[in-house]
Symmetry: C2
Subunit: 198 residues, 2 copies
């Protein structure tokens, strides 16, 4: 933050700017106070010049994608519990805890806002999707390596991932107890009736 | 807006402005061409002055809520098929057809963007939620009146509504055949194992 010789203004390092801008995005998503989420609003909140935000990230969407990638990678440790069911429960419990917090809901919102929406952006969207499904894919790969028979990605998306996203969007807390177990039981209980795993 | 004497520029009526602005929102969501969705971007696309948008809607979020309410009310006829399963299938088939179109995905995106996200906005969010769940609630009420035993709203949210939202967000088309039936069967098949209907 400071150079060796004292200056009258404190200058932020690029990493400090990045941290302040990321925090401003999360804060604005959690507590917008009527403000639309825009680059100038983020810049003002972070105390940096908005031209430097455009220079560094190019667009609000790119900035949001950076926030999401950084925070979700920090917040997603994925211990191997030894079983498919255990791994899915770990994922679901972390998600249930997360959507109960304003910051967790803000991150889901940021994921959605960072998705490219154009008709031309199908490839880019698929890439975002793969990045967001990375933990789920790891769980599936470990299960397959153990000789378990994991449900296809799309079924996990529909039955386990989607409910957390929608609850985060609408601000509907999951039931206080048993919710991760309920979703995982539904998923694994009906796994045999869906299409064969790919 | 227009005076009686002819003018050199064609002036739009308030309803024409509203239609042009709504279309501009949908177009920008479908095909942003790198532009962030902002009031000025919408105004430019609609060919109207951005100050009049701020005056009329106040914020991007309020504008999006207006678009969503208008379009979804137009697009959601809900015929009574005579059974809970039939009504849910009608809903799911319409949703499956919708998320396959760029405009349908854009509308889901608009629903999400129009949700107030602040920690203070819980009541407002709940109101949005009730408005979006209106069709589902009607289906439940009709079923109850017939003596059927519909699953609780939250279960329908988790198992039927959420998958469509998430597929719209990530641009993942539902399987070409049998998807509405699959979701409805999962929902009704497991209805007895969830918490008792409220």
């Amino acid at each position: 933050m400071t150079s060796k010789q004292p200056t009258t203004r404190t200058r932020k390092s690029p990493e400090q700017v990045r941290a302040a801008v990321h925090q401003a995005v999360v804060d604005l998503l959690c507590d917008p106070q009527g403000e639309d989420l825009t680059i100038p609003a983020v810049a003002q909140r972070a105390g940096v010049n908005h031209t430097s935000l455009y220079r560094r990230w190019g667009s609000l969407q790119a900035l949001l994608a950076d926030v999401v990638t950084t925070r979700l990678e920090r917040d997603s440790p994925l211990d191997d519990t030894g079983t498919l069911r255990g791994d899915l429960l770990t994922w679901a419990r972390a998600s249930a805890a997360s959507v109960r917090t304003p910051e967790g809901r803000a991150l889901v919102r940021a994921v959605i806002l960072s998705m490219p929406s154009g008709t031309q952006a199908q490839d880019e969207r698929a890439q975002h999707f793969r990045r967001r499904m990375h933990s789920i894919e790891q769980i599936r790969l470990r299960a397959a390596a153990r000789g378990e028979n994991p449900p296809p990605v799309e079924q996990i998306l529909d039955q386990l991932v989607a409910p957390f996203y929608l609850r985060a969007i609408f601000g509907i807390d999951p039931p206080a107890t048993g919710y991760p177990e309920l979703l995982v039981d539904r998923l694994l209980g009906s796994a045999g009736t869906g299409p064969a795993p790919d």
